[in-house]
Symmetry: C2
Subunit: 336 residues, 2 copies
Amino acid sequence: MIPVSRFADVESHFQGRNVLITGGLGFIGSNLARRLVRNGAHVTLVDSLIPEYGGNLFNIHDIEDDVRVNISDVRDEYSMAYLVQGQDYLFNLAGQTSHMDSMTNPYADLEINCRAQLSILEACRKHNPGVKIVFASTRQMYGKPDYLPVDEKHLLRPVDVNGINKMAGEWYHIVYNQVYGIRACALRLTNTYGPRMRIKDARQTFLGVWIQLLAEGKPFEVWEGHQLRDFTYADDAVDAFLLAAVDDAANGEVFNLGGDCVISLQDLADLLVDVGNGGEYGVRTFPADRKRIDIGDYYADDAHIRATLGWTPRTSLREGLAQTVDYYRRHLVHYL
Amino acid sequence: MIPVSRFADVESHFQGRNVLITGGLGFIGSNLARRLVRNGAHVTLVDSLIPEYGGNLFNIHDIEDDVRVNISDVRDEYSMAYLVQGQDYLFNLAGQTSHMDSMTNPYADLEINCRAQLSILEACRKHNPGVKIVFASTRQMYGKPDYLPVDEKHLLRPVDVNGINKMAGEWYHIVYNQVYGIRACALRLTNTYGPRMRIKDARQTFLGVWIQLLAEGKPFEVWEGHQLRDFTYADDAVDAFLLAAVDDAANGEVFNLGGDCVISLQDLADLLVDVGNGGEYGVRTFPADRKRIDIGDYYADDAHIRATLGWTPRTSLREGLAQTVDYYRRHLVHYL
């Protein structure tokens, strides 16, 4: 466990600082914004509110007077060139995350996950080279693991266009750190869950749909069920972003994030029904279009971030799921 | 050595077949075209003739009546969608190869090395899914090696924007092979040299500038000199492209190419002066802008392509350099 005192120290860095969050109305962005506001940061949220992505104004309904919301698209390089100026920290979370969408519209995925990242970095290089950037990357780029748990030395072997483009986006950050000294690092997120996640479809994670259906009192579907996964609770992911931002030991590094346990999807379904006080699910085989890009079991070795930045998950899967189900039972209408 | 009979068999596959070569007026593309014409293929060369890149009409002056030349840019997705139709083989060699240019204009590099590759693959998926594609990739994406020789299991850790974008371009090919069954593979080229290489500057390889100056009777510069490298002669690279095209064991694979020996840059300079019957060079330290992206020693483990496709270099470095110097002494004016 991270001692509370350590975290108070980390959070104190943000008092009075200027922080830009791309994808700031999305799941992780809005949770990050809430924590930063609580710690006295001046927070600007950039989001395009594209309906298929994760942005949702309800995510900030309780902090909207404490943040500046700027509706724009990270592909708009002129807006971004302005917005990065004067920022102390940039949490770069805007992205297209749907694997299926990346195959049906690979160009949009390229523009958002590659080109926009390059233009954000170019804007920082030209207008704000002193900024510190933390990029939200993904374990998706590892593809089907050769070994478990997967550490950062595992080959990158993406199985879809999204994984390729996220890989490029991540590496632009690392190269700009190495070549230009623009401090940047990347967190390779695994399945992240919690309040404010997108649940209306499976574009962020299958778990969103499960929670939606559970909250609606309908049965959900488990595909196969034997696959092993790890899960990071939103607050724990926020901890990792803050630690990576304040600690220069992170510069130029990529870090896996994991969770507090490894669990099969069927056991996860059982746990969800248990903490949700009821609900039901059925098990079925993979749809053909998903089977082609399925990666089998995955769980991270996150020793690198634990050792380097002192991160550790503070929320058990049971507790995190309980808080998530509770959130969506109260606010479901805003997420459908 | 590959028996001549094996190669006659490989080459016989191209008799009467339709072949498209992107970057076809460039160094490797034009050498490939020459071999394919000799073996009875119907060859179309696509090239944009951008002055900073490798395309040069003189490269095909002796075969221009035997090929179809189509001046267009791979970024032009409508032209490409037409040109891929009806082709049996696509040798996909068009690319921005300059590391320095990728840093000064990262967007152009992105458009050529990422977006154009995606649109070529989309065109094949929609209009010619039966085509076989061989993509010219690069060892540049390995970055500074962790171990030598570098095999295909080495982590990809690009040190510049070009390496990142080439990595993405390569992986689009692999993913389209895996997901859509469009047969594709990639060759990770090391320093390739020979007649028809770009020698007017160092955009393809430093060796071009050395040969230019040697052919002009001027001294050339060796930076440091202790770095180890391997070199593939153009004809041997052509062998590898042809083998990868005809053998379905290549599908979905990436292969390193190496050469017949490993040599330090200073020994290479000495060998060049020796085969060139004179010439001189000086040794200096790295310019600062190159030092930042220097990768130290590099040489490939190419056991994978040797074992899978039976490739082996057939030209010694001495013989290849001699032929190259002879070519540029005769044709220098067309390459300045």
